[in-house]
């Protein structure tokens, strides 16, 4: 095996995007995962590529660029992962002032956010509960099938000379004189001067193996999946409470519903957020809340049957921003992790940032807000 220029740990959407971007920049890349492709949180993700739920700031800048990069990736790799600019509709249940204010500021930062009144709203979503009288339409919101996307990105990396070793658990990160030089895995040792940690929720473990530290923790989320139904829902529709939840650090359960139809006819209803470690036990009360919220948005869903529910663990950092950049202590160790509930949307943008930094070339934005060094600074 030719010794690679860079190793990417993690075959989720973040690792796959990163591997493709590094490959396209001319590096020979080796991808390592302890399972197979998409066996982590990516396999539980819903595939929303949202700009609508981001407040102005570095994450919105990243989200906007990342959204466009998704379409560039599709041109590069092929139309295999159901990428579609479906558009999002955000509705306010009670008071719409916060929503309209957010839309106003988002527009100033380049988001296409169109305030819609009663008639237009119900034109966009004819089955929406009549009590909703205003909302914001976000044509840029898109979606993809994240597991297929990760698989096709990796397939493309391999076709361009890269490699993927699955079922290889990383057990050690090899560091000498504060410089990384490879990894030890259950399938042997692999050497490279650059190691990218794209292990999502588990990124803290890899950082510790290198003698460093990353405060990334799991946040549980549930999704309900219904039987195939006629097309009742035409965009991603969610309650403006969702935006408040996304930015919250309250450990208690919060639910706010995002409802959308899929190509296969099933309807997805997400997503609760709670900080409960890696507890995988089901909580029927959460399913009930999600169902109640979804049917209050779309009463027609009352007769649609729930088929299954599943959960995943979103990787999150204390300040709810992703961690993208070189490790504060170990040279050559790069992190792209902690994307929480937006890892699919933010994956290609993060990949572009990491690639630019590794190659020392200018990038589309200042990434210091995402730097791993910010936690070390917070401690001091």
């Amino acid at each position: 095996m030719k010794s690679p220029d860079a190793i990417v740990i993690g075959a989720g959407i973040v690792g796959a995007s990163c591997a493709l971007s590094l490959t396209n920049a001319g590096l020979n890349v080796l991808i390592i995962d302890r399972g197979s492709v998409s066996s982590g949180t990516t396999g539980a993700g819903e595939g929303n590529i949202l700009v609508s739920d981001k407040e102005p700031g570095p994450e919105l800048t990243l989200a906007l660029r990342s959204r466009d990069l998704w379409f560039e990736m599709q041109e590069d790799v092929g139309d295999y992962f159901e990428l579609e600019a479906k558009g999002g509709v955000v509705v306010a249940r009670h008071d719409d002032s916060a929503l309209l204010n957010l839309a106003y500021h988002q527009r100033e930062h380049g988001v296409d956010a169109r305030v819609v009144g009663q008639a237009e709203l119900h034109n966009l979503e004819p089955y929406l509960h009549p009590e909703f009288h205003s909302g914001v339409f976000y044509p840029q919101d898109a979606q993809c099938q994240p597991m297929l996307a990760a698989a096709h990105l990796i397939r493309t990396v391999i076709s361009r000379g890269g490699q993927f070793v699955s079922q290889a658990k990383v057990t050690e990160v090899l560091v000498k004189d504060s410089q990384v030089y490879g990894i030890q895995t259950s399938k042997g040792k692999f050497l490279a001067p650059v190691v990218v940690n794209a292990t999502g929720t588990w990124a803290g473990e890899i950082a510790r193996m290198a003698g460093s530290d990353l405060p990334i923790a799991p946040r549980r989320g549930f999704i309900l999946v219904t039987e195939p139904a006629p097309q009742y829902i035409f965009h991603k529709v969610y309650d403006s409470d969702y935006v408040v939840n996304v930015a919250s650090s309250d450990a208690d359960l919060q639910t706010s519903t995002v409802v959308e139809g899929t190509r296969s006819g099933t309807i997805l209803i997400g997503a609760s957020r709670e900080r409960v470690g890696f507890d995988g036990s089901k909580n029927i009360e959460i399913l009930r809340k999600l169902a109640a919220q979804a049917t209050s948005l779309f009463p027609v869903l009352r007769d649609v049957q729930l088929l299954r529910a599943y959960h995943g663990f979103r990787p999150y950092a204390p300040d709810h921003l992703p961690v993208v950049g070189e490790d504060a202590q170990v040279k050559g160790l790069w992190h792209s992790a902690g994307h929480e509930g937006a890892g699919i949307g933010l994956a290609p943008g993060s990949a572009a940032l990491i690639t630019d930094e590794i190659l020392g070339r200018p990038s589309f934005m200042d990434a210091s807000a995402f730097s791993p060094a910010r936690f070390a600074m917070a401690k001091v």
Binding site: E227, P228, A229, P230, G265, D303, Q305
Partner: protein, 83 residues
């Protein structure tokens, strides 16, 4: 008292016996095909017969995806093949 019950399948009137499932009553009448599949539009009938496989799903009085092998016929029930 007669045990015969009539119901409608895709608009056509059928008669079965009290206690029979929709699927059983239709098969007894020589109507094996219960629906067409979503993608391939292939005809489907019952398969497991006990509510496990969902091959037999029909729309009953407007409610979709009901298992015809489990639900008993009732008077004037309207059963449809498609969504």
């Amino acid at each position: 008292m007669s045990n015969d019950i009539s119901f409608f399948f895709n608009g056509e009137k059928f008669t079965g016996t009290k206690g029979q499932s929709i699927a059983a009553a239709l098969i007894a009448n020589g109507q094996r095909e219960l629906r067409r599949t979503r993608f391939g539009e292939e005809p489907r009938s019952i398969f497991c017969g006990i509510g496990i496989c969902f091959d037999c799903v029909v729309t009953i009085d407007g409610v979709a995806n009901q298992r015809a092998c489990l639900i008993e016929i009732s008077s004037d029930m309207k059963v449809e093949s498609s969504l």
